[in-house]
């Protein structure tokens, strides 16, 4: 039996719920794995001696940091799941703009929080990560494929190509060409382009594709009515620490733009 753990840090638990939604696949999986740690779904949990640990959420509290470090120590493989774990999540989109004190004050008021917190970080900013399955939430098919690959001892293969790939092969009308803001050209595909297929611009929830051309992306968004500032904010929502790759044509390293 392969020993698996599923851990939640600071996040909405949506990714863990998605795993529970893989009903049929879970039943098949259970013939080969034992789930030793999954506090969201079961009572008896032991965070010891794991083969694969899936981690959801960003590292935001002292407790998060302690848990994920322990998890790393006891597991041979660590897979970050969801955009919080992979990039820091929506909660980290203003990390470079305001201080921690300002953040805490804005959300919790003068009383502050009773636990020790830091700015939200991606799991890879704290411990070594073997694989990342981004998305808000993660894609169920990718989760199942990853488990199947790891159980067979092969690396899962996720080419970091743009969402446009899946969007175009789904024969959607291009939203950018219709004047609707869409982050597809700079976003890591794998979701099957559900948003653009429903007529909603890609929100970038899966993070950066390989070598994204942010200069052109920002320029296309501004041609479609967004200010440069809003275009950059739009791109930053889900990208967490990887938003530092966003560059704007003609603007040299200006904070927030």
């Amino acid at each position: 039996m392969v020993r698996i753990g599923i851990m939640g840090l600071t996040g909405c638990s949506g990714c863990q719920c998605e795993i529970l939604n893989c009903q049929e696949a879970l039943l098949k999986m259970l013939k080969r794995v034992s789930i030793n740690f999954f506090p969201l779904a079961q009572d008896d949990n032991s965070l010891e001696d794991l083969d694969i640990l899936f981690v959801e959420g960003s590292v935001t509290t002292e407790e998060d940091e302690r848990k994920v470090k322990k998890g790393r120590e006891v597991s041979s493989l660590l897979v970050a799941i969801g955009s919080c774990a992979c990039y820091g999540g929506v909660q980290s989109q203003r990390n470079d703009e305001v201080s921690l004190t300002e953040m805490v004050k804005a959300v919790y008021g003068e009383k502050g929080v009773p636990v020790k917190v830091s700015k939200p970080r991606a799991v890879s900013e704290v411990v070594e990560v073997d694989y990342e399955l981004p998305g808000c939430p993660l894609d169920k098919k990718q989760f199942v494929y990853t488990v199947a690959s790891l159980l067979s001892g092969v690396k899962p293969f996720f080419p970091k190509i743009p969402v446009c790939h899946e969007c175009k092969l789904s024969e959607n009308e291009c939203l950018i060409l219709k004047g609707i803001p869409c982050q597809g050209p700079v976003t890591f595909s794998g979701c099957g382009a559900p948003c653009t297929s429903a007529g909603v611009g890609c929100q970038g929830c899966r993070g950066n594709c390989d070598f994204p051309n942010f200069e052109e992306m920002v320029s296309l968004l501004t041609q479609r009515g967004l200010s440069v500032e809003d275009a950059v904010k739009f791109l930053k929502v889900f990208r967490g620490y990887t938003a530092k790759e966003i560059k704007v044509r003609g603007v040299v390293d200006e904070k927030g733009a």
Partner: protein, 360 residues
């Protein structure tokens, strides 16, 4: 053109629905239908859905010959026994424009010339292609690529709009058979039909704005000579590397293949899926080396393959002038503009000159 005039017929437009119904009874019918403001090739359930007056579909009919995702084989991890689950059906693809028929003829050369691909061959044998005439829009440049009219013999029937009727040319015995089966719907050609048919050719030609068409004379040489041109770098600054241009192209054929194990680990499927030379991983090899490390080299690669690679491989250009790559590019990059810039033609000047000419 490759047909005997006695082997052409006339199909009154009022019989089109019955003709489509007849095709549908013969086998799976695929034809263009409307999707939003655009068109796509799709399997037809109601023949009233078929759109005959369309300019271009988002994806070419290629998707019914080379699916964008296909299983090559599967194998058992215990016995290493290979299993090919390859199902082919009879299909009629109706409403294919001339450029796309030429696109399929290019795929035929690629897949069948040397080491024929048995899967492609099987699908191709069981596919009937019925073309239809069209009028160009601002993205079309098939007149430059020599693909504005069907030739060769890779199609079965071709319908040319001559007003109240379609002039139907028969390109193959399979086409002949269909006409024979549905003969009640056709009329014999009269002299005036021939006249109208000939006229339709010049009508299409005249619909092109000649000054907007790219000059493809010795294009292979041009691309080679301009290998270090700044034009590539300029274009690539705007290029998002999104792969749309190759994904919508009727002649692109690149794919990636990956082995996908089942959860019980007993079976592995080899899946092939379409990819693009515009993606960085396309040129990534073991050890992390990229053969095409920057956007300019990837951007150039597509042009190089279309205009130098294909002629070298199959003695035809790899572009049929369908205009899809320009019409669908989110960044608005136009293949014609890139070629014109390589030729040293200033687009702005050209546009001003055309505007002046048309306002006169």
């Amino acid at each position: 053109m490759d047909f005997h005039i006695e082997r052409a017929k006339v199909l009154p437009k009022s019989n089109l629905a019955k003709f489509l119904e007849g095709l549908k009874n013969l086998s799976t019918l695929i034809a263009p239908v409307k999707k939003g403001d655009k068109f796509i090739f799709s399997e037809i359930e109601k023949v009233s859905d078929v759109a005959v007056n369309y300019t271009r579909t988002i994806l070419p009919p290629k998707k019914f010959l080379v699916p964008y995702r296909r299983e090559r084989f599967s194998y058992s991890t215990d016995t290493l026994q290979f299993n090919k689950e390859f199902k082919v059906r009879d299909q009629i693809i109706f409403g294919v424009h001339s450029c796309d028929l030429h696109g399929i003829s290019i795929l035929d050369s690629v897949y069948l010339k040397e080491n024929p691909d048995p899967r492609y061959l099987e699908i191709r044998k069981r596919t009937v292609l019925i073309g239809i005439s069209c009028m160009p829009d601002e993205f079309c440049f098939c007149l430059s690529t020599g693909t504005a009219f069907p030739d060769g013999a890779n199609w079965d029937l071709f319908l040319t709009d001559i007003g109240a009727d379609y002039f139907v040319t028969i390109g193959s015995p399979k086409g002949d058979e269909i006409v024979l089966k549905l003969r009640k719907l056709f009329k014999d050609i009269e002299k005036k039909d021939l006249y109208l048919y000939k006229e339709s050719t010049s009508k299409k030609k005249k619909a092109f704005k000649l000054e907007k068409l790219p000059d493809l004379e010795r294009i292979s040489q041009l691309i080679e000579l301009e290998y270090d041109s700044e034009v590539w770098k300029e274009g690539s600054e705007r290029c998002l590397g999104c792969g749309t241009c190759t994904n919508v192209c009727p002649t692109c054929f690149c794919y990636t293949s990956v082995d996908v194990p089942t959860l019980d680990g007993k079976k592995v499927k080899r899946i092939e899926f379409t990819t693009s030379c515009q993606y960085p991983y396309y040129s990534l090899v073991a050890g992390g080396h990229y053969f095409k490390p920057d956007r300019a080299s990837r951007f150039k690669h597509r042009y190089y393959h279309k205009f130098v690679g294909y002629p070298y491989q199959i003695e035809k250009l790899g572009c049929v002038g369908c205009g899809r790559c320009s019409a669908e590019c989110p960044a608005g990059i136009s293949i014609v503009e890139t070629i014109n810039r390589l030729r040293g033609i200033d687009e702005k000047e050209l546009r001003e000159a055309t505007e002046q000419a048309s306002s006169r």
